[in-house]
Amino acid sequence: MAAEAAAAGRLWLSACRAGGHWRRLCSAGLLRGFLQPASAVGDAARRRQLAHFTFQPDPEHQDYGQTQKMNLFQAVTSALDNSLAKDPTAVIFGEDVAFGGVFRCTVGLRDKYGKDRVFNTPLCEQGIVGFGIGIAVTGATAIAEIQFADYIFPAFDQIVNEAAKYRYRSGDLFNCGSLTIRSPWGCVGHGALYHSQSPEAFFAHCPGIKVVVPRSPFQAKGLLLSCIEDKNPCIFFEPKILYRAAVEQVPVEPYNIPLSQAEIIQEGSDVTLVAWGTQVHVIREVASMAQEKLGVSCEVIDLRTILPWDVDTVCKEECFLNLEAPISRVCGYDTPFPHIFEPFYIPDKWKCYDALRKMINY
């Protein structure tokens, strides 16, 4: 986070120098006491926090052909590129997608595929999803973007009352299975109430839709392609904090990662840790800490699909009687997502580690 801030600062400064603006500021005497580099700031508390996790890339996959170094948003772009290349009916739309998107997920696609296939819509989430449903009803592939998951709520009626129920209520005469909704998701360090939300729980009990959250670029591309090709309406939440922070080798050609299948990232025998999205990297670290400090062997599971979820992997059988301690849920507090208090709010590795420690000692 501090590195990013410093980099941003340097970028601003160099841009100013280039424009001559810097010189004008200097001569105006305004520069003194204005924006000194972060490292010069004496009080460490004023520096912004580092991220609460360390992204852990998976080993490079050999089975899918040539790979390229991509971050998460580039992996998304690659998936979208593959989709539009092989499916002539596929279109991408939402707010600001035409110029490349506020997170650069759609960069280059409008130039490559045309303005009738990659286009902006008016600022209206209920319209975006309703419009997407209509495209899908005709059989064409609709890939809708909701700019932040925090803004998905105006579309809740269209998602829950319409998209999810389209096939069922029509007796399978009609469906909107070729609809995928993608949306940036989750905490980012400074997003506060309306740029940090993880609203998957609101959709988790809505039969008829699928909800998917990837943990990495490789996972994101494969899962997104599966969502797009899935014959049911899907919501794909993209952890925005990973857009640039997560980098790994990702196959250039299309490939699929199955939905409704959790992944056991690390096998273990004492405690099971389950998470999705960014949090997978937190619990991976917790698993290491547990092994190192407590000699505890952890099984780490990335749920990947929230709905329909892979019950069998998480819970090999009716496990209630086999648990030696109650299940512990480590998450944000029952408050809206705060701004300045984010470091205290999030379920970081210390809270998870502490919960694990208490569980072991139950």
Binding site: D116, G130, F131, G139, P154, S170, L173, N232, S260
Partner: protein
Amino acid sequence: MALAARAARVWGSRRGWRQHPRWQQEQHFSSLDDKPQFPGASAEFVDKLEFIQPNVISGIPIYRVMDRQGQIINPSEDPHLPQEKVLKFYKSMTLLNTMDRILYESQRQGRISFYMTNYGEEGTHVGSAAALDNTDLVFGQYREAGTTAFREQKQMGGPGRFQPGSRLTSECKEGSNTRTEENQCVLMYRDYPLEQFMAQCYGNVNDPGKGRQMPVHYGCKERHFVTISSPLATQIPQAVGAAYAAKRANANRIVICYFGEGAASEGDAHAGFNFAATLECPIIFFCRNNGYAISTPTSEQYRGDGIAARGPGYGILSIRVDGNDVFAVYNATKEARRRAVAENQPFLIEAMTYRIGHHSTSDDSSAYRSVDEVNYWDKQDHPISRLRHYMQSRGWWDDEQEKAWRKQSRKKVMEAFEEAERKLKPNPSLLFSDVYQEMPAQLRKQQESLTRHLQTYGEHYPLDHFEK
């Protein structure tokens, strides 16, 4: 009115793209020019402070072809439809009227759980349906009552209730003012079989919807009629998306989207209009303004000049028509269709009409409006009567034929009705399918669990009415 005229001057008969603000954004402009440079509007400066007065006293005029007695006013507007087609209009409207009376009664007798009749609005639906191609996609509106009268169909045949198999005894009164929902009428015009209407209302084994929804939530893939859903106005942005896809597919198809003036207050309506205009979609928005949204009169629904006046605000070509004049509806829809597909732009048609019947079987409209008001529309300005007078004046119809047709249509409806009532309901396992394209493992487990449950407790469930 002034607003519409001004809008017409701005947009003309075809959206001039060079006048479009987007084009102006891309132009070079000189900062020495005193003209407005704002990207957001194409307009001149004015130095007099004046608010634009919304004109609701003399609103957008109502296009009509026939007078209330069914006489053509301006012969050049007469579509000169062949007798056969006009007869089909008439028979569609009256057959549906007959079906409405019978199904309304059947709900009263506890034989189906719920029904919506539309009396007085037949003209809007037949006139518009006839102007479309058969492959044009239809998104209809079902106005939901928030009903409390959802009686489960297992009550049929219970003590004191009507016994399945015997005839409907109550004679449907002449003035019982049943209505047809636009979806039913459009379907009727597209020759949707009576058996399938009934099957859906009864939720029996023949219901293409597999018994999933309340009565009147029809859908038909072959006739390009998207299944109705209860939430209001949700179909509006969906219809726009479908129109966009049709445009991309170069399919020479349009989409028509029906909704009431109440549903037009929903955010989804605003979303749909705006998207259709900005994304240049070949769609007809057809608003049935029938004066009421359940008990809410239009004076409490909007304060502007109805729905047609909103169109120009979005950049949409709009018209208001006499919805009880089937030819006016026909002409407007026909022309809108021709231009929508040729020019890839949306059209808004506001059909003025009156809801003669109750909102649904759960409503008694005498609680909020006078019988006199209702009678005026039933007797003085009814789409079926007006068309009948038109046909009679041409010698295409007379009282004899009327009598014979009424008898014949009633017989057809009764036969389909009794047939539908006799049929079993679908197997309860169909409760579980079609949630997803494939059945997830968890759902399969639940299905098996119900099967096992019924093996032990089956006597407490109405299994006799359901297919094994």
